[in-house]
């Protein structure tokens, strides 16, 4: 589904990614963990086209997509829910969701009815968004904004979803809620690359995990195996 090979990317002169490689198979949840500044967000941005990689390949469905515009890659079926949620503050909750499905919908009229089924699915998953659908997204709480950011990505009916630190800045109970949603999405067969600072959280839902340090993958494996690894325990699970 998604194969990243030997990816290099950075900001201006400073290189952040120095040969990152990872694979996400169809229908699996893959965790990407690592300390602050390891380059997890940069990896996601280089995959989704927000940042142009300087070297390496990104294959989506066996087609190379590196170097394409983010909007092109999104239309090819990759939904990236970015770090910090980035909901459209002045727009209503429902408009945010509709825009998530932008590339599948008619541009002028009739888009609401075409999106109705998907919208209902997202509201089923997040009843709170249903209650607040006319409220402007900027006035939601952090947790609600995170749900909206996930819902917005789901609206695209993506082949693969990239989710960057959904727990950022949220109270532990809210994080529990977000992760129970992720488990439900996993049961329904979603293909997901999940960035998470807390390794134990990521291991709850992941089928496979990569550990990143200083711009490259330093360890990988099934959570059950990684949890036994002495270095892993010392650095992340202590």
């Amino acid at each position: 589904m998604l194969v990243v090979d030997n990816l290099y990317a950075g900001y201006g002169k400073s290189e952040v990614l120095v040969g990152t490689s990872l694979t996400v198979k169809q229908g699996t949840v893959v965790g990407l963990i690592g300390p602050n500044g390891a380059g997890k967000t940069t990896t996601m941005r280089a995959i989704s086209g927000e940042l142009k990689p300087t070297k390496g390949t990104v294959m989506l469905d066996s087609k190379p997509v590196q170097g394409l515009d983010a909007s092109r890659i999104a239309r090819l079926g990759l939904a990236h829910s970015p770090e910090g949620r980035r909901v459209f503050g002045p727009l209503s909750v429902e408009d945010n969701l509709l825009l998530g499905a932008y590339h599948r919908l008619p541009r002028f009229f009739g888009f609401r009815s075409r999106a109705a089924a998907e919208l209902e699915r997202v509201y089923d998953l997040f009843p709170r968004l249903m209650e607040r659908r006319r409220q402007s997204a900027g006035t939601l709480s952090g947790g609600e904004q995170q749900m909206l950011a996930i819902g917005r990505a789901l609206m695209a009916q993506p082949k693969i979803m990239l989710l960057d630190e959904p727990s950022m800045g949220l109270a532990p109970v809210v994080v529990d809620e977000v992760f129970s949603i992720i488990s439900r999405l996993k049961e329904s067969g979603i293909t997901l690359l999940l960035v998470e600072q807390s390794a134990s959280r990521a291991f709850e839902v992941a089928d496979y995990a990569y550990v990143m340090e200083r711009g490259r993958v330093v360890m990988e494996g099934k959570p059950a195996v990684l949890q036994q690894d002495a270095r892993m325990v010392a650095a992340y699970l202590g």
Binding site: H80, R86, F88, Y102, G138
Partner: protein, 292 residues
């Protein structure tokens, strides 16, 4: 001071004010999506007015000429985006300021060469015979200015709120990179905003030409006032530019009547200086609500 004189001055001043508001609205449209504005907007007003005049002289009927004129406005707006703004935005610098000024100068000298320096009357089927409404004299032509301004702003606002493309427009304004992640092409949205802004300029040209006549410098004063209005109202409130436009227009006509016509430009200037000194986000500009 006489009440009916004041009312008369306020009404005729307001009409000019609405034109300032419309041009200011054109600034807002492109600022929303690209954080850039066309400093040559006045030249777009002027060139589209000249094109409309030429079409009329070729015998094209007024109501057929109007949509063609708007289309030309859209194309001119696109030209400004393609030839000037895009280059600067791609390199993430402020070069668009200089580029749009230069494109404006280019339009100005092209117009002088093609159409000459004289001011020419602009024929219109709308009557300029004054009506008396509640003791105030107003011509159908003046009324058409108000109607035209509200119509075009209303249509664009409806487009932004009711269509998915319009919502995408607002999304790019709110967070360009996040919008790209939804599959929305920011480049196309910016092109759209420049063509809408060109349409708005063409409408302004069509509306004021019968009153001001058509000439290369017809819009230079208008655009300065529009700029003051945009700065005072803030670059994100369509409602704000209408209010401030009405206010400035009335103030100008009152000033020129009671203080002297030489002081006509003073209120705009004072307002602009006050706004820059006291409230750089504008009276109606709001800081975007963002919670992390």
């Amino acid at each position: 001071m006489n009440g009916s004189v004041i009312a008369q001055l306020v009404v005729s001043g307001s009409l000019m004010g609405l034109v300032y508001a419309l041009i200011a609205y054109g600034f807002q449209l492109t600022y929303a999506t690209s954080k850039s504005i066309n400093f040559g907007q006045g030249e777009l007003v002027m060139v589209s007015a000249f094109i409309c005049l030429t079409m009329t002289n070729l015998g094209i009927s007024y109501w057929f000429m109007v949509p063609l004129g708007l289309m030309c406005g859209a194309l001119l707006g696109l030209f400004v985006e393609r030839a000037g703004v895009r280059l600067a935005l791609e390199q993430k610098n402020e070069g668009w300021i200089l580029l749009t000024i230069i494109i404006g100068l280019f339009f100005f000298s092209a117009a002088e060469n093609i159409w000459g320096r004289d001011d020419r009357p602009f024929p219109t089927p709308i009557s300029s015979e004054a009506l008396q409404v509640a003791g105030i004299r107003i011509t159908p032509l003046e009324l058409s200015v108000a109607l035209g301004v509200f119509a075009i702003m209303g249509i664009i606002e409806l487009f932004k709120r009711k269509t998915l493309l319009g919502k995408a427009f607002e999304a790019v304004a709110a967070d360009r990179d996040a919008a790209e992640l939804m599959g929305i092409s920011a480049t196309k949205t910016i092109m759209l905003s420049y063509s809408l802004s060109g349409v708005v300029a063409a409408v302004a040209g069509l509306l004021v030409s019968p009153i001001t006549t058509v000439g290369p410098t017809m819009a230079s004063a208008l655009v300065l006032k529009a700029f003051s209005v945009a700065v005072v109202a803030g670059l994100d409130s369509g409602f704000g530019v209408v209010l401030i436009g009405l206010f400035l227009g009335s103030l100008e006509s009152l000033t020129s009547y009671y203080v002297g016509s030489g002081w006509r430009e003073a209120p705009g200037l004072i307002l602009l200086i006050l706004a820059l000194a006291v409230r750089p986000t504008g009276v109606f500009g709001k800081i975007p609500i963002k919670k992390v």
